[in-house]
Subunit: 642 residues, 2 copies
């Protein structure tokens, strides 16, 4: 008998040779039906494989990321089977699952040209083969036999892959009439795949090298339930509509210019208003918590980065140093604000009474990302962090974490994000030498983070070994309106920079002590956060944040002067917008304002101008009645709060 | 008889050979007594030199810059005469007047070491010689005789200077016993010099070359009235107290760090608050005038600057290009914001209805200044311009100039600067080919600037030939509280960049037209403007602008909680400050707040805490009585407005 330990800690005894699927069945048939694979001693495996010694077993279903990945990997094999059945002689390169969902297979279609018009036929064949509930069968095979198989089949890609594999480590997987060279694991049988959809075709070079043959990459998605496919496609459609790159252009929020440079966003007037409203809001909230804003240059002398240790890591994949007329002088575009803030802390003696010293900066930093990685505002080469560095005593860590968590929750709620979780990254307990700072400090800091997250009622995942060498950290994640998860910013403890910059404060004991430093940029960057905000709201920003809050629409150009008077009177109440004084019908003006997602329209005709009023219309809600300007500003303030 | 035209346009007739001094005497003896030199046909000359043909003559007195320069040049000769009398054998190199006031002489004192303890003796000798009213006598001399004179005297510096001079062009000036090689001109006699003061000693290499002999430079100042010297020294003392570098450190507004880099200011929390208040104020005022703010990156691809024409001028004396992993890719730290703004204008079609399009940005730019040129915040390597670019139709130029003049006057008045003048720089009428853009456009633009300045009632100086090749401009100058003149920013018309970026708008005629561009940064940069503001106010900023507006001083720590409650309640009224909760006597707290130049102190003791009030004390004005918080915010708002 062997002991099988389940994730809840319970231990069950089984005969040696038992499979994970047997274990599932011994618990419940219903569970077994949902099992796609299993994690045995940390390794994802086929649920059918025998277990011969004491092991920990986690059964994987569609609810587990590893379950999904296995499912999609098996779906790639199913697609290959269908392709081979429909187009004999096709050659197969690689066919992995994708983290972001779905799978692809790179194929060499020979003289055939596949197009998306073939998708229906392939999908139908896949569904037909799925209904056969063919088992994914694993087979260990000698290298010689494997080579022989693919030589006969005439698939030079698999043969090239085999060259890199060691004899004795090679496995084949077969379902129905299709056999593939594959490390696995796979789901029990094709019957689990109830819904499939091929998404698109793309060109891809064999092994990513443009000197090699160009293959056809077919992307697909699959689900265990038809309903899930429908929802997925709807979500995709919705995401496309919300794409911040598309909305950013339509709403004239930002632009890119080839001449200025890829990945360097230029904020247009409306985007600038949005960003500055957001920054002002964050600044005020931070100031309430005792943060003090600073402004530092966008470059720093090489010496600064030698001290911080970053210079040694400045590789050929970065923006290169800026030389000057002075021989040997080098400046670097700043990739982070922390070294500058350390210089501020250290420029004069500090007392424990000044701690925690919280230095905040909306600091624009520059990092060279590969051009293929750039994506709208979410991956850029220049971005503005909502950065702050907190210099504190070790026993102030927990309170500072709690405050940052509070601030983050408050801001996210105000932005309309209700779900927010975090990952806590701690030391690798097996490699204590990897880390700088005393054990005592680490223990205290890790406990502070864990306790603060618990007290804040935050849902967290804890990852051992994911801490940086200089301190533990917490990363924020949010879920948006259509269920997508986004990684935000971080709170990071740092014992390293205070050491390197020899930072000190005089304690109540009159002795010099080294402060601990916290890096925090809970929203990551203005660029990234605004890209998420655009996609979450589909461009319909909350009233208080909208770049144009009111559109003043005149029924005739006789009322344009009064309209401008209204706009000017609203400005001191921090209500901004524009007058649409075009010579257009009012219906057209309303439609255009709606398209521009302006939250409030003020319509002005004869009676409004005479009575000194405005007719208020809320986007998506319609008429709110006629109001005096005083009534309107009160209405607006209430609406902006809610 | 010859005709002499005076500056007021009147013409008088004199015998040929008349001197400017004769002309002065013919007008009034009083005037003649004040004449120091004369500008004859545009050239500054001795008042005693004969005039032989029809000429324009401007008599120069102490009220003219050229009069002052001549006076100080003659003072340098007087100092040399005194030195030669006191220390025979001393050798003289060069002795010019200084634009910023005063003069120096570089001397080779041989084995003697001069120190400031010798100043009194030298000054006394100068005064003694001045009382002799020795005439400055001009003599034309052959090169051979001049060389003979200085060979006999043994002054190798003058001999070296003579090498560079052409025979027939050489003049000596003699007053009393001292003769110097000198182009002149000089004042009539030493008797005009009533007050002298030697200021400091410095080392200086002969001809500025460190391989040459090191000379002793003696700086001095002189005036035609004793009272003026007293005032000058007082002003100097006052300027020292107001030095923004000293105050910036004392008030913790900004700092520099060797590691970050020379000339790269780091704004500390208080300086950041000051700067952001100022920026917010400027932003609001600009938005009222229809400016739209944008944010652009701090770098730009080489292509951008090739298009703008700046790349060709990017020399070895600049920050060098930033290379990237991509071969041939180069970015430049942006030295100005205009190319980025041109890209914004050009990124989509524009209609005449959108003009004037006013794009504003507090844009931080980087320019490599020589380290010797750096000075606090006034000369730096990274600075933030209050920049904007106005794209308009040619017939909108005048109105835009008027608006910028209005805005500038309003802001300067609000800052407490009452005197403000401008220099208008126009084409050189003799070199029309130097300029791009049609004559018609230039005529219109120059007229627009001149008319706008006149309508705004602005005192201006017009300089022909000082326009840039791409357009005419207007530069602002202000006078501060102690009478010093400061150069601020500029409004500049530009026909060049719209051409280079091929910018177009569709006119009401449905045809494409090229817009005109106006660059304007009336305050120059936040750094420079704040340096002037610090020196003008001596750090006592206007209430609305002060980084800490209130210091809340508790009489005992029992009231600290109430003090923080007060601070929090003031925050929504945009009143910021701090609680001084140190365990110090209230007298000490008041003194420290005064030293930190905090404009308002709120004192809190038993009765204030009980009654929910504050005792208000205005810096420099004393007790304002006890007020409720509502009363105080009203008092504050009124005080901030005034």
């Amino acid at each position: 008998m062997i002991n099988i330990t389940l994730p809840d800690g319970s231990v069950r005894q089984y005969e040696a040779g038992v499979s994970s699927m047997d274990v599932a069945r011994s618990i419940s048939e219903g569970l077994a039906r949902n099992v796609l694979a299993a994690k045995v001693n940390g390794e994802v495996r086929d649920a059918s494989r025998p277990i011969n010694e004491d092991s920990s077993v986690a059964l994987l279903t569609w609810n587990d990321d590893d379950g999904k990945m296995t499912f999609w990997h098996s779906s790639a094999h199913l697609m290959a089977e269908a392709l081979e059945a429909l187009y004999p002689g096709m050659k197969f390169a690689i066919g992995p699952a994708l983290k972001d969902g779905g799978f692809y297979y790179d194929i060499d279609a020979g003289d055939r040209t596949l197009s998306s018009t073939d998708f229906k036929k392939i999908e139908d064949k896949m569904k037909e083969l799925a209904r056969q509930k063919n088992e994914y069968k694993r087979e260990e095979i000698s290298k010689a036999d494997a080579i022989k198989y693919f030589e006969e089949k005439g698939d030079e890609y698999k043969l090239e892959l085999l060259e890199g594999l060691e004899d004795g480590q090679i496995t084949f997987y077969t379902q129905g009439n299709f056999t593939d060279l594959c490390r696995g694991p796979h789901i029990p049988d094709t019957g689990k795949i109830k819904a499939v959809k091929l998404m698109k075709l793309a060109g891809a070079y064999w092994r990513g090298d443009e000197n090699n043959a160009q293959l056809t990459r077919i992307y697909g998605i699959a689900f265990p339930k038809a309903k899930e496919l429908t929802e997925y496609l709807e979500r995709l459609e919705e995401a496309k509509k919300r794409d911040h790159r598309k909305l950013g252009q339509e709403l004239e929020l930002f632009m890119f210019s080839e001449k200025v440079g890829q990945g360097l966003p230029i904020w247009l007037p409306k985007g600038t208003r949005l960003r500055e409203r957001l920054q002002n809001f964050l600044r005020r909230e931070q100031e309430k918590q005792g943060y003090q804003m600073v402004i530092t240059p966008h470059i720093g002398n090489k010496e600064l980065y030698v001290t911080s240790g970053h210079y040694a890591k400045y590789g050929e994949d970065s923006f290169q140093p800026i030389h000057t007329p002075k021989e040997g002088e080098e400046f670097l575009l700043k990739p982070m604000n922390c070294p500058h803030h350390c210089e501020i802390f250290g420029h004069r003696p500090r007392s424990y009474r000044e701690l925690p010293l919280r230095l905040g900066e909306f600091g624009t930093v520059y990092r060279y990302e590969q051009s293929g990685e750039l994506h709208g505002l979410s991956r850029v080469r220049g971005f503005t962090q909502d950065d702050a560095h907190i210099f504190c005593m070790p026993d102030q860590l927990k309170q500072e974490f709690l405050s940052v968590l509070d601030l983050t929750r408050m801001v996210l709620t105000k932005m309309g994000f209700s779900e927010f979780t975090a990952q806590i990254s701690l030391r690798d307990p097996d490699n204590p030498d990897k880390y700088i700072g005393s054990d005592e400090n680490w223990d205290a800091a890790e406990a502070a983070i864990i306790e603060a997250a618990a007290e804040a009622g935050l849902t967290t995942v804890t990852e051992l070994g994911e801490a940086a060498f200089y301190g533990p950290k917490l990363d924020f994640m949010i879920k948006d309106a259509i269920g997508r998860q986004w990684q935000l910013g971080t709170i990071q403890v740092d014992y390293n920079l205070p050491e390197r910059f020899e930072l000190e404060y005089i304690g109540s004991d009159n002795q010099a002590h080294r402060p601990v430093m916290i890096h925090r940029a809970p929203f990551g960057s203005m660029e990234r956060f605004i890209s998420i905000l655009i996609e979450n709201t589909a461009g319909k920003f909350p009233l208080w944040l909208a770049p144009d809050q009111v559109a003043i629409l005149t029924i005739s150009d006789r009322f344009n002067d009064y309209a401008h008077e209204v706009l000017n009177k609203l400005a001191p109440h921090d209500i901004s917008g524009f007058v649409d004084e075009r010579n257009e019908k009012i219906g057209r003006k309303i439609r255009d304002a709606e398209l521009q997602k302006v939250p409030v329209m003020l319509i002005i005709g004869e009676s409004e101008a005479e009575e000194g009023k405005v007719s208020v219309r809320r986007q998506g809600e319609g008429d709110q009645g006629s109001m005096s300007l005083t009534e309107f500003t009160e209405w607006f303030e209430a609406a902006a709060e809610s």
